[in-house]
Structure formats: structure tokens, C-alpha cells
Symmetry: C2
């Protein structure tokens, strides 16, 4: 069996028994029942994902998948394509936002070239899994062949396996790729499904005219490529990005190994959505980090009935929102592991 | 001049020059302008409060003010009054939620008895500034004398001065006091002002009938005490709590010393509101940590045009939300201090 199908076969929903066991402990801690709100919900899910009495999430890693996008030639981004490579160098030298925040939360950062246009030969620390030098322009052709999408997805699964082998309990998705809100919006429109207008936003800084143009480009991409909403891998190959495929792979591989997968913003969500459509049980292991200010993100959460952890008006990507959310998850688990129980302090639990 | 008036005279708004200077630096960092959303807004305000080129917030402390409430005899809480003292012992032995979260964010915890009913003689670590053994029952009498409210408020100012002397840059408010959502709702109704029904919620776990009763009790308290909305200290004495007065003092003293004051949930907000009505400039130094699930909290934020940092459905108090928010503020400042600039990496800033 191929790696992808093998991984999909390993993913199962978390057990309600572990959740209930966790909730029992939460209810024995010195606080009114439920008064820590989402911290309690997060802790219970962590226990259920890890299937451990007292889980530890100490080792964690952010995976930044990088790819370029042919559709940039159609003027869908406020930044030129060259910025992808410049930012990768910034990641590798530790000066980008994701480096700062990952350091802050004790996470390693790995940067994976799955589809950069520029070859950064000898860039120290860059993991080279390049599948092709950027996607085709989805406004006139398919983004990539199905085999290429599968290869990029397998790179994501490989990263999850590596992390698991190194004892990681929690991984986060991140990405860089000038223009990648466009394929992300296209994928959301097909796989949610949703109106293209509803899921298309300003990206890194388009004006209203720019957004109108971006909507037209996505409409063209969908009409040229005719993706089917019941064929997630086909849609990914037709409209997606190589870094989006990598993220999808990390979600699947992470869930198969029962790691927490913290999903960053809008682009990461597109990758996660492909994974959810391939196997809905993956969702139990996904922790959606934050509500991005990219307008289409809200549509995803509403349609899927998911509440992200943070809402800080961020729209940078890279994994920055995921890094912040890791800290909230940490705290939820510290509450679970470290608080005194009512029995310890001699209080009879109230309402 | 008395300490309170002296403190009030020291509080001034943050300068727009420092804010602009901070925003300039934020715009030079390797990210699209504004793409870190509220992290940028928080960092700019921290710089403006501290008036430092590269502020550090390393030293921080959570102050948990404790008081009891005569109104508990009217059945407004799901827990008996004895729980106040039991929880104080839990704070002092390090097993409560606030201990866990403060450890997690590197903050010290101080517990101050400003108005406990029970005398915890010799309780190691408890700071004794007891003004009176619990408030009067506001449904039939005033909570305390004006002089008592002033003493509890001065204890809060004293804590701020102590923290400042010890080099703290950031303090957080916390509280414990069975029944204290009732005086808090009463204060909000008078000082916002707002409809009593709109600001009265379930507290630690009342049912609908309990909430209806609590509303009647507050209506009675307001009609018996006849507080004036333009007399914040008078309203505090008539309807408030000693821990609420302590929190008000910490807000004022913190702002006077130009520390960040991270305001926890619903009860802390009532104390902060008294401070804001005494001197509106205090608001620049207040960082409202989170949207509590106590329903009236939303009314405060809407009326005052303030957006809290987190929204995690918490309603525990103690300073738990404030501890979590400290970490977000930390991260905003790390972004500000540590990220590479466009110049560093050779990118021409885009839109």
C-alpha cells in the first residue's frame, strides 16, 4: 500500500473513554466545574489524543513548508515572488516572526522546500524535498500533476514520522509562499464548499480592486480546472500549492502518530481541510490555532463548526499563530497535571 | 495630600510620540504592515507605557486580593463563604489554578487579605492588610464606610509601590471572595452605567432562578444605598468589596508607576472601572486580559470600546486570565525586540 493510503488507514477518532476520564479529573480540581472554559476542553482533548494519564508536550516543532505559485504572474499578491526566497533565508538565519515565537514557546523550526521556484543551493538548514520549481498558473492550467501533489504530501508525512521518532508530542504547521492565499481560497471554495467571493480576502495587502481581480482569477481557475468536491487529492493537484500539500501530509502523519497538530492560519487551514476530506477522523488531532484576519477563514470555522483558540487579528502565516496557541495548550495541560484536587484541600465540590 | 489623591495626580496618558516611534519600528520588521494584528498594537502600547526603546517585562507579579461579602447570607453564590479561606490556603500552598499559571508565565503570586471574614492567623505568606472582617450585606446596608474603602484601596496602591520598588514591569490583578460577582455587577450597573439585568450573570454556577434572585438582591442594594454614578469612591464603599477596592488601588498605583496592569476577569474589571472613573488616563496602562464567560463582562467592553486579549470562556478569577494574557504580551514584545528588519534581509517593503 502507498504511504498516503497507509497513513490514512492508521487514523482513528479519539476515544470518548479517555475524554471522560480526563473530564473526571478536571472536575476534581479546586475550581468550579467548567470554570476554566476552553482550557479544560483543550486538556481533555490532549489526554484523549495522547492516551496518557499525565501527558507531556515538552518536545515540539514547527514545520514551515515553502512553495511558489505560478498564479503570481496574474498579479494576485502585493509582494513579488522573490520574497519567498528572501524570507526563507530569514527563517534560516532566525530573524523572522516564526523564529522569535518558536523560541519563545520552546519549539524547533524546520523549513522544507517542497516547491520553491528559486534553488537555494547550500542554504544551511533548509530541508530539500523540492518536487517542482513552483506550481503552474491555475488561471490557465493545473497547479501540478497528481503524482507531484502526492510527493509533496508524502514529504509532510515524512516530517511527521521524523518528529514522532524524535519524541515530539506536538507539531505545528507553517508556510511561506508569495501568492498562496489564492490557491487556498480556491481549495476552500471547492472542498467546503463555499462561494468564491466569501472565501477570498486581501492576503498580505490587496486593495478592494485587487480583491475583485483575485476573485476573477479564482473563478477562472475553477472553470479551467473543473475540480470535483469529492476528490480532495484531485482538487489539491488542480488548484493547490506544494506547501499546502506538505501541510496536508503533516496533518495526516501527525494524526496517524497521535501527535497534536496545531494548525496555523488560512493557508494551513486549506491543507488541513484536504486532510479532513481524506479522513474526517484526522480532525480530532487538529488544534486550530487562531482566527486569521483573512476574511475567508471565518467561513471555514462556521461551516465546520470549529472554534479556533485565539483571535488576535493576525494574518502573517509562517506558523506564528500556531506557536502562540501551543502556549495556551501548554497551560491547559499544566492545569490538568499540576492543580490540587478538592480532596487535597478539604472542600466539598459545589454546583 | 492623601495617598489616593497623590497617586491620581501622577497618572497621565501615554504619549502618542512613543506610540508612533514604536509603530515605525514595527513597520520596519520583516512582515507585511499590521500583519501581526493585536501583537503589534500591544507592543506599541507597552513601549508607550514604559517609555523605553527596548522594554523588558521580565519581572512580574500577580496580586490576589481577598475579601468576604455580607450579601452571601442572601444566597447569591453557589458556594459557602468558608470556601474563601480554604482557597486562600490553597493559594498559599501553591495548588490553585493561579499558582499553576503564574509559575508557567514566570510571575510571583502575592495574596493579600484586605477583607476576609476568617482570621488566618499565622498563615505563612499571607499579606495581612485586613480592613474589616467582610463587608456588610449590601441588600440592607452599605458594604463599608468610605474610610474603609480608602484603606483597602491604599493597600492596593502600596502593593503597586512595592512591586515597582522590586523592579516589576508588569503586575496583574486577581481576587478571591465568595459572592463577589454580586458587588461587581452592582458597581458596573452604577458606574458604566448599565441595566442591572444586563450585567448580572451566573457567577460560579447559579441556575436561572438563582440569577433572577441575584438581580433582585442587586436592585435592592441599589435602592437601599442610592449610589451616585459620579461618585466612584462612594459607590465602591456603598456596593463594592474590599478586594475590589484593592484591585482599584493596584490599577491606580500601577499606572502612576508606569507599570503594565493586566486586568483579569469580571470582578477585576469592576475594580478597574472604579479606577477609570477616578482618572480616565489610567486606561492607557490597563491591559484587559480576557472576555470572561460571566455575561455582564461583554457589556463593559462594548460600552467602553475595549477589546480584551483572549476569549477562552473562563470564569474562575484569581488572576488566571491575566496570567495567560501576560504571555501574549510577552510575545508581542519579543516580536518587537527580536525580529529582523527589511533592511537586515534586503527586502523592499511592499504595501
Amino acid at each position: 500500500m502507498a504511504i498516503i493510503e497507509q497513513t490514512l488507514a492508521h487514523i482513528r477518532p479519539v476515544s470518548s473513554e479517555w475524554r471522560m476520564k480526563a473530564q473526571e479529573r478536571l472536575d476534581s480540581l479546586t475550581k468550579p466545574k467548567g470554570s476554566l472554559g476552553r482550557l479544560e476542553e483543550l486538556a481533555a482533548r490532549v489526554v484523549a489524543v495522547r492516551e496518557e494519564e499525565r501527558p507531556s508536550l515538552e518536545k515540539r516543532e514547527v514545520f514551515v513548508f515553502v512553495g511558489d505559485h505560478g498564479v503570481v504572474s496574474d498579479g494576485v499578491s502585493a509582494y513579488p515572488q522573490e520574497v519567498t526566497a528572501l524570507m526563507v533565508n530569514n527563517f534560516l538565519s532566525g530573524g523572522a516572526a516564526i523564529n522569535v515565537l518558536a523560541r519563545s514557546v520552546g519549539a524547533e523550526v524546520s523549513v522544507i522546500d517542497v516547491g520553491m521556484k528559486e534553488r537555494l543551493a547550500g542554504a544551511e538548514g533548509l530541508i530539500d524535498r523540492n518536487v517542482r520549481r513552483g506550481t503552474g498558473n491555475i488561471a490557465v492550467e493545473r497547479a501540478m500533476e497528481l503524482s507531484e501533489a502526492r510527493s509533496a504530501l508524502e514529504a509532510g508525512i515524512e516530517m511527521a514520522s521524523r518528529a514522532h521518532a524524535e519524541g515530539m508530542a506536538m507539531v505545528a504547521t507553517g508556510e511561506m509562499g508569495i501568492g498562496n492565499t489564492t490557491p487556498s481560497a480556491a481549495l476552500l471554495s471547492v472542498l467546503l464548499p463555499a462561494d468564491i467571493k466569501a472565501v477570498t480576502g486581501k492576503g498580505t495587502g490587496l486593495d478592494d480592486e485587487g480583491v475583485r481581480h483575485k476573485i476573477q482569477v479564482i473563478e477562472k481557475a475553477v472553470s479551467v480546472n473543473k475540480p470535483a468536491s469529492n476528490d480532495p487529492l484531485g482538487a489539491l493537484a488542480a488548484l493547490g500549492g506544494l506547501e499546502i500539500a506538505g501541510i496536508c501530509g503533516l496533518c495526516l502523519g501527525g494524526a496517524a502518530h497521535r501527535m497534536l497538530v496545531v494548525v496555523d492560519g488560512f493557508i494551513s487551514t486549506a491543507g488541513a481541510l484536504v486532510a479532513m476530506r481524506l479522513n474526517p477522523a484526522v480532525t480530532d488531532c487538529l488544534f486550530f490555532a487562531h482566527q486569521s484576519s483573512e476574511s475567508g477563514h471565518r467561513v471555514f470555522f462556521e461551516k465546520e463548526g470549529i472554534r479556533p483558540i485565539l483571535d488576535l487579528g493576525m494574518r502573517l502565516g509562517e506558523g506564528t499563530g500556531a506557536a502562540l496557541a501551543m502556549q495556551v495548550i501548554d497551560n491547559s495541560l499544566k492545569i490538568y497535571n499540576e492543580m490540587a484536587t478538592f480532596e487535597d484541600v478539604g472542600i466539598t465540590p459545589g454546583a
